[in-house]
């Protein structure tokens, strides 16, 4: 009898430890992605609650972001072509490494977009002012991005300025995209793109 009770107790203990281990592993499985950054907002937006949009999605805009991950303060002309002449230029002034990023929301359609020069990718029209007082011209080194090829309606195009590993004086320009498909539909929190579209439509802009 006593033996049985002991076994029972041991069994209970084992069961308890087993379930605790499983709970701990489940907790770890939940926390680890959050701690390591695996669950990025894009993933959260896709899979769960659709918190905030990070691209215009199904609204008639194209977002263009510039990100400064260099040691220099940048002057960046964002140039774009809507089919009207002349083409448009928006100058981002004094984008410091601390301020890091900004961007522009363009009404669709946009045919081409670049930083610096739409037609000459080697024209160094982006100006980098380094902390030591030095100045350099930066060019994207790639043809202007084109609608239907590189981006579509509702996308966010990203121009990322980063320091090349070979020299802090050399700045690389890379292009990236957050696609509209990942950002369409309803969001559980504020969607500024939908609000803006509704406002522009209501006011006749």
């Amino acid at each position: 009898m006593h033996d049985h009770a002991l076994k029972f107790q041991e069994t209970g203990t084992m069961r308890k430890v087993g379930s605790r281990t499983v709970r701990q592993m489940a907790g770890l499985a939940f926390l680890l992605p959050l701690m390591t950054g695996c669950l990025n907002p894009d993933f959260v937006n896709r899979m769960t609650g659709n918190l905030y949009p990070i691209a215009p999605g199904d609204t008639p805009f194209l977002a263009v972001r510039v990100i400064n991950d260099t040691e220099a303060t940048l002057e960046i002309p964002i140039v774009y072509d809507t089919g009207l002449t002349p083409t448009f230029t928006y100058l981002v002034r004094k984008l410091t490494p601390e301020a890091r990023d900004t961007g522009l929301l363009l009404a669709w359609p946009v045919l081409r977009v670049s930083v610096g020069d739409l037609d000459n990718p080697y024209n160094p029209l982006v100006i980098a002012n380094f902390p030591d007082g030095g100045t350099a011209g930066v060019y994207p080194g790639r043809a202007a991005l084109e609608a239907g090829v590189d981006f579509n309606r509702g996308d966010t195009v990203v121009f990322h300025f980063s320091t090349d590993s070979r020299s802090p004086m050399y700045i690389r320009v890379n292009a990236g995209i957050i696609e509209a498909d990942a950002q369409s539909g309803w969001f559980t929190r504020a969607d500024p793109y939908q609000r803006l579209r509704a406002m522009l439509t209501a006011l006749g802009f």
């Binding site: 076994k7 029972f8 041991e10 069994t11 084992m14 087993g18 379930s19 499983v22 592993m25 489940a26 499985a29 992605p33 390591t36 950054g37 695996c38 669950l39 990025n40 907002p41 894009d42 899979m47 918190l51 905030y52 949009p53 990070i54 977002a63 263009v64 990100i67 009207l84 928006y90 100058l91 004094k94 410091t96 601390e98 301020a99 890091r100 990023d101 900004t102 961007g103 522009l104 929301l105 363009l106 790639r142 991005l145 590189d150 981006f151 990203v158 990322h160 890379n174 292009a175 990236g176 995209i177 696609e179 929190r189 504020a190 500024p192 793109y193 803006l196 522009l200 006749g204 802009f205």
Partner: protein, 170 residues
């Protein structure tokens, strides 16, 4: 009998643990873990944007010009990091033409904005003079007026030379 039950429980626990591990690995591989898959922002062409994460959300700052005077709005955006950025947003005169969007302009910011201050608004009057509009209003601050997903609207109204600036957050 009880020991067998415990074995079963243990086996189930093991299976669960295995399933969780596989799910965790899948989560990282499939959906953009920093270590395993750095391409959180898709690349274009032969670009390399390793380690660049997508923003948590965006705020928009829109300038609407309903006047017949072209204008330029200067703003100071201060980030959570302490860095600040002065924006100069030009807008053409209102044209009542939805096809020409140059009478409004919108700036996109990540949600790391701490405050937005309206520095100045200058409008070009028909006689060629530049009129500075009154802009003495306190900055918009995170936690009060600003939060992720907000739309800040600056509207220029009136008839020259009686022009006004309105600022609202939606």
């Amino acid at each position: 009998m009880q020991w067998r039950l415990a074995e079963v429980t243990g086996r189930r626990g093991g299976r669960l643990a295995l399933a969780l591990s596989v799910a965790l690995a899948g989560l990282g591989l499939g959906n953009g873990c920093d270590v395993l898959n750095p391409s959180l922002v898709g690349t274009i062409g032969n670009s390399s944007i390793a380690g660049l994460t997508a923003p948590a959300g965006t705020m928009l700052i829109t300038v609407l010009n309903t006047t017949t005077s072209p204008a330029a709005v200067r703003l100071r955006v201060t980030k959570d990091s302490g860095g600040s950025l002065d924006l100069s947003v030009p807008v053409a005169a209102a044209d009542n033409n939805a096809e020409d969007p140059s009478d409004n302009a919108t700036v996109v910011q990540d949600c790391d904005v701490y405050s937005i201050e309206l520095l100045s608004v200058a409008a070009a009057l028909p006689n060629g003079e530049i009129q500075q509009l009154a802009t003495d209003r306190p900055p918009l601050r995170k936690g009060l007026e600003l939060s992720c997903g907000k739309l800040v609207v600056i509207t220029l109204t009136g008839v020259a030379p009686n022009l006004f600036v309105q600022m609202a957050v939606y």
